[in-house]
Amino acid sequence: MQVLRCFLGGLLLMGLSLHSLGAIETQPAHENAALPGEKESAENHEGTAKEKFEPGTFIFDHIGNAHEWHIITIGQTHVTIPLPVILYSKSKGLDIFMSGKFHHGHETYKGYTLETEGEKKGKIVAEDGSLPLDLSITKNVAALFFGIFLILWIFLTVAKAYKRNPLKPPSGLQAFIEPVIFFMRDEVIKPSIGEKHYEKYMPYLLTLFFFIFINNLLGLIPIPPGGANLTGNISVTFVLALFTFIITTVNGTRNYWKHIFNTPGVPLWLKIPIPLMPLVEFLGVFTKPFVLMIRLFANITGGHIIIMGFVCLIYVFSEMSAGLAYGVSIVSISFNIFMTFIELLVAFLQAFIFTFLSSLYFGMAIEEEHH
């Protein structure tokens, strides 16, 4: 019952954040289209006028990936943590250097340029216009490494405590983790997969849950090494969904595939001559992990966008008048605090839903035939 309620709440929240994402995403697109012209004319008219604040660019720079980790901009000085750039191209081979060499895209280094405008913004482009294989430790990858380090540290410490006294009641970090493990095991994994096989999937599902949860939480911390929109990055959610997809497909029983290609209990005309049901079911194999990928990405990105949006409000109003900006900042910051609390809930909820649905898919894949 509880699980169901959580799940429904999650769906509701998901819908809300998707909605808000859609609303905000269209906005900057308009602005981006309108702004370059406007900006040009402003520059033409006033010359050295103060650069106009663009909320769209501001937000998308923060939630997107980058080759350097931006901390603060004071006046015209960007304070960033330079990150290593690793490039491989067939013509030039392997190149490793620090992203500081680009001077925020102002300079070309070893024939590579960091695009700052246009369609390839943020990408490293070779002189001939081709894109090398970019294996750089970008902001997200650095955040990923930090997250991995934190997860390994937490769980190896906890494991040590368990190894020392397996029969003692948990204490410290262990007492923090254990109820979550119990919750995941008894409320999520065991009911979805079944008493018989659930133990086999425990390590993956627990890793998945804590990986998403801890990285979600790290994303809420505004300063490095937190603050990167890691679990709201489509590449990351793609990999996570890919793992679930691979495990589901590899462990699928004969019964699972039979349900897909020859669904029992479905009228024959839906299968022959046009294999409508098999087609739909087969598509379902891919849409399930695809939805996992989109859901996590959209929720976390949506949350980041909302929080950034509230911050932007202050800057937008400050361009009108300072007094207005002070007034708005009070509202903005209170909403931000409120949103951050909601995001804490979402951080848990999304990790929970991803794990819950993954275990449901595993449960479906290994289900025995029953009548």
Binding site: G64, K121, I137, T138, P203, T207, N233, S235, V236
Partner: protein, 164 residues
């Protein structure tokens, strides 16, 4: 950089990173943690089972103790009853025995008195006879000094004993 287009570099790093985390945690964290949790669950379940068993054992022992106590009480009553009966019978026996013994003694005494009496009577008879014989002898000796008298005596005596 499109928000919705996956980036090869990030995919590769995430794939490697997540796989590494999964494999390391699986071997070094989840294995001992889940093992320990299971072990503890088992030990708690076993302890509960053992406690339940002990409780049953105690109640069983209590019942049996009660039974033993009851039996002991019955046994005691039986023993006391038996002892009482034994006492009664012993007293009765002793009484009977004493009665018989005393009767026997009285009988014996009576017998011996009777015997003594008979003996005494016999003795007296004998002594009287002897005395009378000796008296008779003396009388006879004096009577039979002459012949007639002698004969007369014989006749009288014979007459007395209705010999003639």
């Amino acid at each position: 950089m499109g928000l919705l287009t996956p980036d090869t570099g990030t995919i590769i790093w995430t794939f490697i990173g997540f796989l590494a985390v999964f494999l390391i945690l699986k071997k070094f964290a989840w294995k001992p943690i889940l093992h320990a949790i299971k072990e503890r669950d088992d030990s708690i379940a076993n302890a509960l089972k053992a406690a339940d068993k002990a409780k049953q054992e105690v109640s069983r022992l209590e019942a049996s103790n009660e039974k033993i106590l009851m039996e002991a009480r019955l046994e005691r009553e039986k023993i006391i009853k038996e002892a009482r009966e034994l006492k009664e019978s012993m007293i009765m026996d002793a009484k009977n025995l004493a009665k018989i013994e005393s009767k026997k003694m009285v009988d014996e005494a009576r017998e011996s008195i009777k015997n003594e009496k008979t003996a005494a009577i016999n003795d007296l008879k004998k002594q009287v006879a002897e005395l009378s014989v000796s008296i008779a002898e003396k009388v006879l000796a004096s009577e039979l000094a002459d012949g007639d008298k002698h004969k007369e005596l014989i006749d009288r005596t014979l007459h007395d004993i209705r010999f003639m």
